[in-house]
Symmetry: C2
Subunit: 207 residues, 2 copies
């Protein structure tokens, strides 16, 4: 029992620390030796828990996925569905700001690095994007049903646009290290969640 | 003279072929040996033109950047600025479709793989995103000035939202290999370019 707990703790420590390494360095730029040094776990012990770097990478993704959906649960807080959506958008921006826009999004990074090379990585990330879009769509549908949101967008398509703009905004902020781009995207997405975008800010008037 | 032309041709062949390799495999997952095999150019000749893999990677980015802005010039075609913007969005989707959503966007891939590891890569990609945003902003401002577009969005922020949604949409399509996500994002972005998004599609009516 104690052995199992200790083994579980070691496994978890490897997963969490490797996640930090992979998020900034990427998968191919990280060697098993980097993981040995970064986790402080001996190579033999590492291979006891994970049969290969791919196996470890997949486990890191699965572990990060669980944490991400827990984060989303708390991020979608508010008195009504539109508030929940706005708070979720702010929570994403705050998370990236806390990290000074270093590392970006593990899923986005891995999507671009691995999806043409390893179908299992692609499969997991695809699943994450779809489940995430489904959650956003649920709030959008609720807002529409309550009459809080009038939109010309198809709710599922809008939920994918939101995810795409978040992932792209994180990418742009990571490149510039300024965060202005992601903040701008979040602001624009909030405008999209206003019933009529024309009413929520000074109009660009025609001349 | 002939020597120089031949040298220039070899350099160009290395750049174009390496671009294809990097776009699907990524930078760290590509070895000098992969490039030797892929280009058919001997290692000595490769090092005659480029001092290191980083040096070659930077040159590939610069070369792809020039081609990209040439592509944009032809993509923004149309009788008025809104038409130009819509045709540009379609051109992006068509380019990705032609490639079956394999490879994605070299700049986006490199942004996520390299920007925390190599400031020179980040600097070039940041420059590309800004110049691209500036071009989109120009068309948006023109459309607003002509009275073709009434929008609550700040034109520069909207141009960055468009780029973010394109990059994120390419990412999602690359993961799913379906293209539906990018097509959806492009459709949503076109709705944003209608003066009033509420008017361009059947309303999601409140109950």
């Amino acid at each position: 029992m104690t052995e199992t707990i200790k083994g579980g703790q070691t496994r978890d420590r490897i997963l969490k620390r490797t996640r930090e390494i992979l998020i900034t360095r990427g998968f191919y730029n990280t060697s098993i030796n980097d993981i040995v040094v970064g986790t402080g776990v001996k190579k033999g012990n590492l291979y006891y828990h994970f049969s290969s770097k791919e196996d470890l990478g997949i486990a890191v993704l699965q572990d990060a996925k669980e944490d991400f959906f827990k984060f989303l649960e708390s991020a979608f807080s508010g008195d009504n569905p539109l508030d929940c959506l706005r708070n979720f958008l702010d929570a994403i921006l705050n998370e990236q700001r806390k990290k000074n826009f270093v590392g970006g999004c593990l899923f986005g990074n891995t999507a671009l690095e691995m999806s043409d090379n390893n179908p299992e990585f692609a499969r997991i990330i695809n699943e994450i994007f779809r489940r995430w879009a489904g959650i956003i769509e649920g709030y959008l549908n609720e807002a529409i049903a309550r009459g809080d949101l009038l939109t010309a967008f198809n709710p599922y398509q809008l939920s994918e646009l939101i995810i795409a703009a978040i992932e792209g905004g994180i990418m742009m902020a990571r490149v510039s290290k300024e965060g202005r781009e992601l903040a701008g995207c979040i602001e624009s997405l909030k405008k999209l969640l206003a019933s009529n975008p024309r009413n929520v800010a000074p109009l660009q008037t025609a001349q």
